[in-house]
């Protein structure tokens, strides 16, 4: 029996050391695309000097943990106090309402109100957090490759076909393996889909069956993968809805035109350095419009926290105008804060290419389609994205016909809607 008692004692010890949140401790789960982890650490250190009674700990994790493990933790009522998340809407029932806790709710509404809907349950006026960065999907061209190939970089209103043709010429002349690449992500596919006239949202607010617009671009996309215009590698490197980026191929000069988004700018700035010249191009056009997708990562408070007041203090601090400004300037992220946007930013980089690219992305936010603006705040976006990636990658791998992929996308989404019971 003693043995058993030892075991029980071990349990007890475990219990005590585990969940007993230390008073005044606030944990932030954070993933990094670039240097933002270090910048955040600086800012938080300053906060702790101001508030010695609150200990803020940053847990750096990989992006896959945020995507795969965090939702399950939240489902169990575990998880950190604050997290940096991209699927904000789908998980919105787990976010803490900061409205009664923050010093000045009106400040939040004024400066972050535009994206508040992206991260709260439909129909509430909750303040869940704020966007650490606004992103826009868009393209990057390897200018050096274009120049060497003697191919002109397509103009601002060029179509996807124009880009495909130009990129192909460049790749052939410069012997690079991929004319174009597009991240393995439903979000990335959606901009072009909308440009081809797609609409995801049905009349009842639930997902509509996949329409001609989406079909048109996806067919084109799969055709490009087949004939080698579009990089196959990134799309076939996983099954299911796993996210994969083709950024490394672009950085290594293997891609002429890469469709990703504004968050890659700091990454490219540091990693490409002077290896080649690159430019941001905005989003190519389809028959309907020329839109990218807005998006971004939000910092949200989690409702299972034991220290809501301290959490609110941390959030208040990080949402301060000068803090947002410094964070954005040092990370080269586009801020969400209205006041900061209006007063303008001085990005802390001596890389002219990065500055120019950020300029292109800022301009491209003005030409977003209405639907593209709506999607981040739509409950079913993630569901649609997941189904798109899963099935399009099967079509791209050549194991499923396009028609079948379209039927499957509809079926997957319908099953998920049914499972949710909404």
């Amino acid at each position: 029996m003693t043995k058993t008692r030892t075991m029980l004692a071990a349990f007890a010890v475990g219990l005590m050391t585990s969940t007993a949140a230390i008073a005044g401790e606030v944990r932030i789960m954070w993933y990094s695309d670039g240097v933002e982890g270090e910048v955040l650490k600086d800012l938080v250190d300053r906060f702790m000097k101001e508030n010695p009674d609150i200990n803020v700990v940053i847990d750096n994790v990989s992006y896959s943990v945020v995507r795969e493990q965090l939702p399950v933790q939240l489902e169990a009522g575990d998880g950190p106090d604050i997290a940096r998340v991209t699927n904000l809407k789908a998980l919105s029932k787990h976010w803490l309402d900061l409205r009664p806790l923050v010093a000045d709710g009106a400040y939040w509404d004024k400066n972050f109100g535009d994206q508040a809907d992206w991260m709260r349950p439909d129909g509430s006026n909750q303040i869940s957090g704020f966007m650490t960065q606004i992103t826009v999907a868009g393209g990057f061209a390897n200018k050096t490759l274009f120049v060497q190939a003697g191919v002109a970089i397509p103009a601002k209103d060029a179509t996807w076909d124009d880009w495909a043709k130009a990129a192909k010429q460049v790749a052939e002349s410069q012997q690079v393996p991929f004319p174009m690449a597009l991240d393995r992500s439903g979000h990335r596919l959606s901009g072009p889909n909308i440009s081809y006239g797609a609409n995801y949202i049905g009349a009842d607010g639930k997902p509509a069956p996949i329409d001609e617009g989406s079909k048109a671009f996806i067919s084109k996309f799969v055709g490009w993968v087949e004939d080698g215009t579009m990089s196959k590698d990134v799309w076939v490197s996983a099954a299911g809805s796993t996210y994969r980026a083709a950024a490394d191929d672009f950085i290594n000069g293997q891609v002429a035109f890469y469709y990703s988004g504004s968050w890659q700018v700091p990454n490219f700035s540091t990693k490409i350095g002077s290896n080649f010249d690159w430019v941001a191009t905005g989003s190519p056009c389809g028959p309907a419009t020329c839109t990218g997708m807005p998006g971004g990562a939000g910092l949200v408070a989690i409702k299972y926290t034991k220290n809501p007041t301290d959490v609110a203090k941390v959030m208040d601090y990080l949402a301060r105008e000068e803090v947002v400004k410094e964070f954005s300037e040092r990370t080269l992220f586009l801020p969400a804060h209205k006041g900061v946007v209006e007063k303008g930013l001085d990005f802390k980089t001596d890389d002219a290419q990065a500055k120019a690219a950020l300029g292109v992305f800022v301009t491209s936010t003005t030409s977003l389609s209405d639907l593209a603006r709506k999607l981040p705040g739509w409950h079913w976006s993630d569901t649609v994205y997941g189904a798109l990636v899963t099935r399009v990658s099967q079509a791209a791998a050549g194991e499923m016909k396009l028609d079948e992929a379209f039927t499957r996308i509809d079926a997957d989404i319908a099953a998920k809607v049914k499972d949710s019971g909404l």
Partner: protein, 342 residues
């Protein structure tokens, strides 16, 4: 094998460092004598079994039963009371097919693709693993110089973590990896192995053999070394041919070991996950998506998460494993008796 050399080495540790442990053990002894007096030998058996069974019960059996309950419920909630009872709907969904010969006609086509992939994987894995390990064991059983070195060569990947195994091979098979470099420098066209559905599948089989064959080789080697030498001497006197000796003496006497190997390989092959997850992620398309990954992703990882469906799939997988193992055990009974003659 007796407890000679390693046993003594194990004991020599017990000199000084073990003194407090010994003291503790004698302290434990007193209450245990009381237990023994009160409950008898049966009570002691329970006592010895208890800690293991307790942990086992909480962390293995209980989840297993919860899993069963999950498979009868729907929704995305984690804790059972929050989940709605749906009866056998999840199973019905898995089995909802227009044509049972064509996985694409099923509602859960991904599940059946995973089942098909896993089936092929198991067949290839079992045959090739036995083949490679048997040949390696036969060769290591020869009169070799530096045999422990050769044994180590084949065994060391067993100790690597699946993540490392996956990373190493991904690094080699990728577009700009070592393999393509090799082909390139011999004037061949490089090939993107992991983009190719057949090659990816072959890669998962091969990598899995690479990582585990050392373990099975050792088991078979142990069997080879236990075969009485006089049998071979007798065969030598009769002038029997090598192949005949192998078929008539080596193989039959090796059967018990081979059966252990087959059962273990089979169980592991059905459960294949980690190294493949790192190596191919299940792609291209779904060509290396195996059952465990399907279950993990359906239950845990994807945006289309459905723990109930995942649980139903895992219960089916468990049933298949139990049936396969019982079949194996049934087959091995008679040969065990044969084997015990040695």
């Amino acid at each position: 094998m007796t407890a000679d050399v390693p046993g003594r080495t194990g004991l020599s540790l017990s000199d000084l460092a073990m003194v407090p442990v010994r003291l503790a053990m004698s302290f434990i002894d007193a209450p245990l004598r009381w237990v023994q007096k009160t409950f008898g030998l049966g009570g002691m058996a329970t006592f010895f079994l208890l800690p293991n069974m307790l942990i086992f019960g909480i962390f293995v059996l209980l989840p297993f039963f919860i899993n069963f309950a999950y498979s009868m419920t729907g929704g995305t909630a984690l804790f059972l009371p929050d989940r709605s009872f749906v009866g056998t709907d999840q199973y019905a969904r898995l089995f909802d097919c227009a044509n049972y010969l064509d996985p694409n006609s099923c509602v859960e086509d991904t599940f059946w693709t995973a089942v098909g992939n896993t089936g092929w994987f198991v067949v290839l894995q079992v045959t090739l693993m036995i083949g490679f390990s048997l040949v390696t064991a036969l060769i290591l059983n020869r009169d070799l110089r530096a045999r422990s070195f050769w044994r180590a060569v084949f065994f060391f990947p067993v100790l690597l973590s699946p993540v490392v195994v996956g990373l190493i091979w991904k690094w080699i098979l990728q577009r700009q990896g070592l393999l393509n470099f090799g082909l390139f420098s011999f004037g061949f066209e490089p090939h993107v192995w992991l983009n190719d559905r057949t090659w990816s599948f072959a890669a998962t089989v091969g990598v899995s053999i690479w990582a585990h064959m050392g373990f099975y080789t050792l088991i078979i080697l142990a069997g080879l070394q236990a075969i009485p030498k006089d049998l071979y001497e007798a065969a030598e006197m009769d002038g029997t041919r090598t192949s005949r000796v192998f078929l008539r003496i080596t193989l039959p006497l090796l059967m018990p070991n081979l059966l252990v190997v087959i059962v273990l390989v089979l169980i592991r092959a059905v459960q294949i996950f980690d190294e493949v997850y790192v190596l191919t992620g299940g792609g291209p398309g779904t060509s290396t998506l195996y059952l465990t990954q399907y279950i993990y992703e359906t239950g845990f990882a994807t945006q289309l998460r459905n723990p109930g469906l995942a649980a139903a799939a895992s219960i089916l997988m468990g049933v298949v494993l139990v049936v396969l193992t019982l079949l194996q055990l049934g087959l091995s009974r008679p040969s065990e008796k044969k084997g015990s003659r040695k």
